[in-house]
Amino acid sequence: MEHKKVIVVGSGPAGLTAAIYTSRADLDPLVIEGEPSSTSDQPGGQLMLTTEIENFPGFPEGLMGPELMTNMRSQASRFGASFQTAKVTKVELDTKPFALYTSDQQDQNDPVLTCDALIIATGARSLMLNLKNENELIGHGVSTCATCDGFFFRGQDIAVVGGGDSALEEALFLTKFAKSVTIIHRRDALRASKIMQDRAFANEKITFAWNKVVTELHSENAVLTGITLEDTVTSEKSPLAITGLFVAIGHSPNTEVFKGLLEMDDAGYIITHAGTHTSVDGVFACGDVQDHKYRQAITAAGSGCMAAIDVEHWLESQH
């Protein structure tokens, strides 16, 4: 069993900024960065599935999401942060030091890591539609990653579900390949930012299906051929023939392993007070795991910095 002063769980902008600051403060942090996956819950976090980031200050020409995350990781490494490519499977927060179990340990009976201070930056992941054959159709028409899969839908009719910035960003990206992109939204107005709305409305490949939800996925030979939409006002059903469906309907915090141990709101987001302190002394939370309002790379990074400074002060106060 290894003991660390500080362990950071998660490696998006919040976790890596916390790692940069705590490593510069000589706290020798270990980052448990997650496991490779094609969902948004993976090392580097949600930005690994995006393309161009235009609003991160300091990059006037923009930069690619994965590039930003690779840079942040190198920066944390440079100051001595160490990394473990695994997921945390269980934590014990009722005794000090805190104990952690990880997905790469053989024997799950005993913890492999302990730490004095814990920074939780596990973020949030994309929600799926939860339709019955959705999982089988991932990779066969249903996609969770427009940047990975858009290329294969050249000249085809496809749809994006959602009405936020992520949905519009995906739709606009997909117009580079697709013949047409239908944005399916359950309300009659978008919650996306003005600039994204203006771009979507101006794009002639994009049409909107307002007040609609997807109720069925149709396939032939295990490949998506269309969907059924239901009107949220009239309950009328209508078919839509598409070969690609991209889902961007919102997020859910990655807090399963902390359930019952930390105070959370009804949606499962960790509640923080006095900066990044949680309901357990010595446990701190930053980034999307405790924020369903702002959810930006820059706010996540900012709160990661706050967590690192809070940890530094807290460790000093323990002596």
Binding site: E35, P36, S37, S38, T39, Q42, P43, G44, M48, L49, T51, G65, P66, T85, A86, S103, D104, I138, G139, H140, G141, S143, C145, T147, C148, D149, F151, F152, F153, V223, G244
Partner: protein, 110 residues
Amino acid sequence: MNKPDIAQLNDANFDEWIKTSEKPVLVDFWAEWCGPCKMIAPILEQIAVEEEARVGIAKLNVDNSLEVARRYEVMSIPTLILFKNGQVAKRIVGAMPKSSLMRELNPHLS
């Protein structure tokens, strides 16, 4: 670690390579612009070294070899397809940790 021996396949050399390989070949359909593909690349390099006796690793960039990608109905990357004697033995869509990947592959390797 030894330098991994990874074949670079394309529309021109794919069929010949898959047909003539003496051991099963795991083909990684990937592209430069795909984040999860980058995550899985080092894992495949490790497998290429550690499992050299049991499986060959090859990469096919879908950007310049769309014909092969279309033929195997690749609609999402990374897609990994294991070929045995020129036939598809296993298809794996999406990035995953090495342990999970080996769990999927093991039943198909001798």
